[in-house]
């Protein structure tokens, strides 16, 4: 396991990416060290688990269509719920963020590969075993204490499932840490010399913020899970009050990671949106530095707000007030971002293709998640809605309305680069419309459910909530249907799509300066930074076609 920093100078050692090799389809199924292959491996794996987690969610929604636990047993429901949460967080959103980071960072900063390509491959290859391990628990009694696994319940409800859950999270967490080390090193050390830190694309900034959280937060979760594991197997009582321990300590350790984890899941897609909007609005990003620094601010604040998940738990009053204050402050950098994105769209020439539609869908749904988030920071109100469907609605607006919409925007935006083929716009727009309707129909009514008194994580509920639950269930079916145009579109485009030019969107970031898909070591020669990442509209030339870009490149080349 040798990690070579410079695969180009080291073709023999580096088995998979020597200079003049063509990409083979087999590469995608092997221990490849090429960041583009790894990025696509991440993305495809993440989508696989998205469909698994989505299927679990559909079973849950079917169960919840009626107040009685008639479709699945309550115990199985809890297993579904636990697995749905764990899969969607640890095997879908986090790896999907890593997918974009792996694929894009070296291309965006003009590097040949990540700083530690082999480490990168190791990080990816921990994900499939972790996922399969987790899924295997279904055969042996899946974990059923929720994705939070609060003791004492997690200690007393099914040992093997819980232990499998712990091991799988440890594996996935390790993968995430190794990935983050790579991202930070690559961004700091491998930019082309012309690119200072303030002219790198905003996606890199958001990945810096994300990686910092991964590096600082994940190990604490690991510590908590190791102790939980002791309680589970060795009979200690760290978190078990029956033996003198304290379950609240687990909650603190868990949320010290898991609140930053929320930002680990959303920040990469903040970055994606900051890339997608300017390109398709044909306008520079509004307030580059504000967006860049607000990512760092969110990252920092994200580390000191964890106990807002514990307002009704073992948190004394004064501490509740402290965490209320810090949590509310996060609204400021987040607000800056949302306003800046809106201002980016304002006055532009919006090319309403699938990527931008998802980008705007992201803005409009994330907004709701953000607003309900500020409400939840207010302790007196949070006490009422904590652990209710209001929370379920809120975090789906952040994670689905935010992360997943951003993710789809990114997929449509970079698909031509990744595959060398264009997508079908009609199917893409259909996908967007179905997703947008299904998503809002599923999750908006949940806010009302929670306010009215429906608690979460239940297989049986009060009959008065049936109508609204039925609406949510119908919405979730529409969401399920919405994935079909997507899958058809992607599969069809990969094989039969129109060939994509080098730079179909006339974008300015470096990844568009190389072939689609990029050649094995990304660029024929070191790319020239001839414009900032978002300097649209500065040249009055037509954006039609690629000639202008190449001409400009030639000009710059001649001058230097």
């Amino acid at each position: 396991m040798t990690t070579s920093t410079e695969p180009k100078t080291n073709p023999i050692q580096d088995g998979h990416s020597s200079e003049h090799r063509e990409r083979k389809w087999q590469d995608y199924f092997t221990f490849s060290t090429d960041h583009k292959v790894i990025g696509i491996q991440y993305l495809v794996t993440a989508f696989f688990f998205y469909f698994v987690g989505g299927a679990l969610a559909e079973v849950m929604r079917t169960e919840l269509a009626t107040p009685d636990p008639d479709f699945v047993q309550p115990e199985f429901y809890n297993q579904l719920m636990t697995m749905h949460g764990t899969i969607m967080l640890f095997l879908w959103i986090i790896p999907a963020g890593a997918a974009f980071a792996n694929y894009l960072i070296p291309l965006m900063i003009g590097a040949e590969d990540m700083a530690f390509p082999r480490l990168n491959a190791v990080a990816f290859w921990m994900i499939p075993p972790g996922g399969i391990l987790l899924l295997s628990s279904f055969f042996n009694g899946a974990p059923q204490a929720g994705w939070t696994s609060y003791p004492p319940l997690s200690i007393v409800s099914g040992k093997s499932g819980e232990e499998i859950w712990i091991l799988s999270i440890l594996l996935l967490g390790t993968s995430s840490i190794l990935g983050a080390m790579n991202f930070v090193t690559t961004i700091f050390k491998m930019r082309i010399p012309d690119m200072d830190i303030h002219s790198m694309p905003l996606f890199c900034w958001s990945m810096l913020a994300t990686s910092a959280l991964i590096l600082l937060g994940t190990p604490v979760l690991a510590a908590a899970l190791i102790l939980l594991s002791f309680d589970l197997i060795a009979g200690t009582s760290f978190f078990n009050p029956a033996g003198g321990g304290d379950p609240i300590v687990y909650q603190h350790m868990f949320w010290f990671y898991s609140h930053p984890a929320v930002y680990i899941m959303i920040l990469p897609f903040f970055g994606v949106i900051s890339e997608v909007l300017p390109v398709h609005a044909r306008k520079p990003i509004f307030g580059y530095r504000a967006i860049a620094y607000s990512s760092l601010a969110i990252s920092f604040l994200g580390l000191i707000v964890w106990a807002h998940h514990m307002f009704t738990s073992g948190t004394p009053g004064w501490l509740r007030m402290f965490f209320m204050a810090t949590t509310m402050i996060i609204a400021v950098p987040t607000g800056i971002k949302v306003f800046s994105w809106c201002a980016t769209l304002w006055g532009g020439k919006l090319n309403l293709n699938s990527a931008l539609l998802f980008g705007i869908g992201f803005l409009s749904s994330f907004l709701i998640g953000g607003l309900s988030g500020v409400m939840l920071a207010a302790v007196p109100f949070d006490i009422h809605v904590h652990d209710t469907y209001f929370i379920v609605g809120h975090f789906h607006y952040v994670l689905f309305g935010g992360s997943v919409f951003g993710l789809f925007a990114g997929v449509y935006h970079w698909f031509p680069k990744m595959s060398g083929k264009m997508v079908n716009e009609t199917l893409g727009r259909l996908h967007f419309i179905l997703t947008f309707i299904g998503f809002n129909l599923t999750f908006l009514p949940m806010h009302q459910l929670g306010l009215q008194g429906m608690n979460r994580r239940i297989a049986l509920y009060d009959p008065q909530f049936q109508t609204i639950n039925m609406i949510c269930t119908i919405g979730s079916y529409i969401l399920a249907v919405s994935t079909f145009p997507f899958i058809i579109n992607i599969v069809w485009s990969v094989f039969k799509g129109k060939k994509a030019p080098r730079n179909p969107w006339s974008a300015l970031t470096l990844e568009w300066q190389t072939a689609s898909p990029p050649i094995i070591e990304n660029f024929e020669e070191e790319p020239v930074l001839w414009a900032g990442p978002y300097e649209y509209g500065i040249d009055t030339e037509s954006i039609d076609g690629n000639e202008s870009v190449e001409e400009m490149l030639a000009e710059v080349g001649a001058e230097s």
């Binding site: 070579s4 920093t5 080291n10 967490g173 790579n182 600082l216 994940t218 510590a223 102790l227």
Partner: protein, 206 residues
């Protein structure tokens, strides 16, 4: 996170295979990676220490009543061994800076022996403790924290041994090519510092 420790250490071990190629005008980022990893790893310990401190502050009595006194002699000797081993190890690196590979081997060999002595001391302490893992919350913490640290010491010793193994090869390490040596050393200092914090927390402030 044990697994990450192991992975990184393996990577660190093997880095120097590529070291010659890494010197063809390309900057070497591996030390930067090692630092990031150590920051991350220290957060694991921070997690354990924080849990320990929370228990200490919320429990009516800490250690809980009836916990046998911790024997201090062996841990104090262990502390002395571990702290001085950091200096010994640094002499090895200093020798390498002067291209003195046999000096490196001598001092690193001594460091490895001291590390093994530390582990034996800890083993002795575990073996002769009047309490077990599940006796009470304090003893559970004791074994979890010292065990996790011991695991790190073990990895550190393996790192040093592998540096020694590789140093037999002529020209493997020199004053200009010494990533493996540096990585092993920085890791060892890290483990050393963690021990000092741990020693104060677990043994001294009861």
């Amino acid at each position: 996170m044990q697994s990450s420790t192991l992975d990184e250490s393996k990577v660190a071990l093997n880095y120097h295979q590529a070291i010659e190629t890494a010197h063809h005008g390309h900057p070497d980022h591996r030390m930067f990676g090692v630092f990031l990893f150590l920051i991350s790893d220290s957060m694991t310990f921070l997690g354990f220490f924080a849990a320990f401190l929370i228990y200490r502050s919320i429990m009516p009595a800490w250690p809980p009543e009836g916990t046998p006194e911790l024997e201090l002699l062996v841990p104090i000797i262990n502390t002395a061994i571990l702290v001085s081993s950091s200096f010994v190890m640094h002499k090895g690196q200093a020798a390498l800076k002067k291209d003195d590979v046999s000096g490196l081997q001598f001092w690193f060999g001594l460091t490895a022996l001291m590390g093994i002595a530390f582990l034996l001391g800890q083993g002795y302490e575990y073996f002769h403790a009047e309490f077990g893992l599940t006796t009470n919350l304090f003893t559970s913490c004791f074994f979890a924290v010292t065990g996790f640290h011991g695991l790190h010491v073990t990895v550190g010793v393996l790192l040093i041994l592998s540096v020694l193994w590789r140093s037999r090869q002529e020209g493997k390490y020199s004053s200009t090519s010494h990533f493996g040596v540096e990585a092993a050393e920085i890791y060892w200092h890290f483990v050393d510092v963690i021990w000092l914090v741990l020693f104060v927390l677990v043994y001294l402030i009861n």
